[in-house]
């Protein structure tokens, strides 16, 4: 347990890294704007990092990948919408959104964990379907929530808009904070720092007594029971942390993106994060902060760099979205087939 981190990074991660560097070199030969490609991928890494981080607690506690991440995301969206409703701007708006989102996510996380404790062994399936159900339930919810602000509700009819712009609130406020450019590459330092701080907090938690016992309970529940650890409570704690990270994550994501996306948008947000942590070398029952960092970097830069190059070469505009879906679901499928520890 050196540093509380065990590096289980394999040769495949190195190959992928080398592949990305090759792609970057190729892009400059194709006459593409390489610095802007790098900038794009850094922004995407920053946007997605917290979602990837949210996978860590549930893996540690033995639940596995958190397919129910959108539950937390919806809590963050509600918090965000409330700040827009009251026309809050700047950092105070951003942090108010986070502060409203967190308690909601705690409540939802407790409910989610309680539900998963009743369905041990099929948490990932249950999480997936719970995700779908809740996202669609909230499609009704968005229609009837009593928002009044003209920036949120449809100009005609009832309900909230499907995308809500943050132009006048806190668009890119973290991205721009302390940001700078080197050799044409823009570094959104504020957002990256925010990500790193959260990673550090989670890492601290994992090296605290509770964190170590959570890993122990997740690694072998019977062993946990023989030490008098309440396994169910540990699992609930992990879903709470994961949901809170989901809520914070969507606010950070949206400020960078410039919009809150509602209705069915959160439904697919867990999958890139799942693919990322798996690409970073994690398995469904073992993961570390290193896997999170590495995974976010590899997956996002692979997609943001490789896909424009692919469309450049094949000149087919719809290719990138197809490939994105193919790659992320392919990785998840591959990792799930390895779940039982059997070779395929």
């Amino acid at each position: 347990m050196k540093l509380g981190i065990k590096v289980n990074v394999g040769i495949s991660q190195f190959i992928m890294g080398a592949f990305i560097i090759c792609l970057l070199i190729l892009s400059s030969f194709l006459g593409m704007n390489t610095p802007s490609l790098i900038s794009d991928s850094i922004v995407r890494i920053g946007m997605q990092m917290i979602f990837v981080l949210a996978m860590l607690p549930t893996i540690q506690s033995g639940i596995g990948l958190n397919f129910g991440l959108p539950l937390g995301i919806i809590c963050g969206l509600v918090g965000g919408l409330i700040t827009v409703e009251f026309n809050m701007t700047g950092f105070s708006g951003l942090f108010t959104a986070i502060l409203i989102g967190i308690p909601l996510a705690v409540v939802v996380g407790i409910f989610y964990g309680w539900l998963l404790n009743h369905m041990k062994g099929s948490e990932m399936t249950v999480g997936n379907y719970l995700n779908f159900s809740v996202v669609y339930l909230m499609c009704i919810g968005w229609m009837i929530l009593p928002f009044k602000n003209g920036a949120i509700v449809w100009a005609m009819g009832e309900g909230v808009r499907s995308t809500i712009t943050l132009d006048n609130n806190y668009q890119q406020i973290l991205d721009n904070f302390l940001s700078f450019s080197i050799a044409g590459v823009r570094i959104p330092l504020g957002m990256l720092l925010f990500d790193i701080i959260l990673c550090f907090l989670v890492w601290m938690f994992m090296t605290s007594k509770t964190g170590i016992l959570m890993r122990c309970s997740g690694g072998n529940p019977v062993f946990g029971a023989s030490l008098g650890i309440n396994n169910d409570r540990m699992r609930i704690l992990s879903t709470v942390i994961s949901s809170v990270l989901g809520a914070v994550g969507i606010i950070v994501y949206s400020q960078s993106y410039g919009f809150y996306q509602l209705y069915t948008a959160p439904q697919m947000m867990a999958y890139p994060a799942i693919a990322s942590i798996l690409i970073g070398g994690a398995t469904t029952h073992r993961a570390t902060i290193i896997n999170v960092l590495l995974g976010a970097v590899l997956y996002q830069s692979l997609l943001t760099i490789a896909l424009p190059i692919a469309s450049e070469i094949l000149s087919n505009s719809s290719l990138s979205e197809i490939l994105r879906t193919l790659v992320s679901n392919g990785i998840i499928l591959y990792a799930l087939t390895k779940m039982g520890g059997k070779k395929i």
Binding site: K2, G4, S208, K209, C216, G219, A225
Partner: protein
Amino acid sequence: MEPKYILEMHGICKEYSGNPVLKNVDLRIRPGEILALVGENGAGKSTLMNILFGMSVIHSTGGFKGEVLFNGEPVRISSPLDAMKCGIGMVHQEFMLINGYEISENIKLNRENLKKNILQKILGNKLGILDRSQMRSESLAVLNELGLQLEPSTITGTLPVGLKQFIEIARELDKKNIKLIVLDEPTAVLTENEAEKFLNCVKEVSRKGISFIFITHRLKEVKAYADSIVILRDGELVGDYSTESISIERISELMIGRTVNFDRSVDNDRKFSEDYELELKNFSVNMPGEILKNANLKIRKGEILGIAGLAGHGKAAIANGIMGLYPSMGDIFLKGKKIDETDTLQTLLDGVAFVSEDRRGVGLLLHESIETNVVISSLRVYNKFLRRILGIKFYDRKAAKNFTEEMIKRFDIRCTGPSQEVGRLSGGNQQKVCMARAIALHPELLLVSEPTRGIDVGAKKRILDELVEMNTREGTTIIVTSSELAELRSICDRIAIVSGGEVVGILSPFDDSYKFGLLMSGITDLGEKGESDEIRD
């Protein structure tokens, strides 16, 4: 001419990856004879039967040496189907009956009487229609033969356990060519009355010329019903007697072995005060496969108590029940204070430590480092190996590493260092890690289950020495549950015997071997009852 023996097995040797499990075993059965095959767990009885039935586990591990003659002729049995064709049948310990089927369907399973129809002629027997009336009348005939008043159309699942065993034997008897039936602990799940009825029935059938191999741990039944007895110990044939010529005591002694010259590493006549470290009153544990009923035990402060018994008889349940890992009833008193066994953390805080018999399943975090495995209990229970920073308890890597290195040295754990994954260690070294974790707790009462199971001789000695050391130096009271009687006798002050889910007696390690064997097979008139308060010295 009828051959003298229905089955002869000559010079059977078998090894699993270099470990000999059967050494030159001979077995002969006359027609109509009931032969009892007795021996402790792991003596080689199942392996011998697997060879007889040509089970794939034998052939996939390199076959066996020796010769099998059936009806006087050498046979090659390479699959259970071959055995069936020869006329060898088996009645299993676990019921191989389909509860939703009626009795006649179970008896006729896979040998159903069929009515002819057109589809069957085109597509083969699989599409035949069952001739139920024929099946029922034939089943009824077999049941009557066994003296059973049962309607063949009854659903099997509704029968009491005692009767199900009869259905199994009826199924074997219904096979027309059956000559030899192996009974694998048929009476284990039966009450004494049912067992008697069942065995009388077996005896009756054997008069018609069908032979039986009767595997059991109940020596009384052996004495009463078997014609001859074959005793195995550690894969060797140690006795082949006719039943009249041998006493139960002698059978038991041969089973256990004359290990009188065990090395004691503890003083022989230690005196203890009458302070009880632990008391169990009417303690029952519902541990699947190891059920314990109404155990009463008192363990004195500072002693080493052994718990012996056959697998599946409930000895493992005592320690697991105290730790609250399985639901239990009854009272546990620790130093006179009643404890709530469901509150495992409080039990640990009260100074109890537990080393599980299921090392890989319960005892270790296989994917974690040696360091984590060694310190985790003390970290959990006593907040050791933690540093407080801003009021939050963080892992203290340095202290944990130092302590683990100390333990690695003390136990001679063969590893690359404290950060090596425990799953990659050998069984013996894994057990040392488990022991190190228990020691880190400095327990007042240590529950150790199967401390030497599946580990090499060197590690065994190391672990037993360590137990004695803890006991003599720190005054730790120790309860050792083990299948290795010789080891228990080398370190324990007293040995409790568990049989059939009950504590049937407490013996001194110096008692004669046969007494252990008798108690383990459930014969209690020689040892004193566990309930009695007196303590034998």
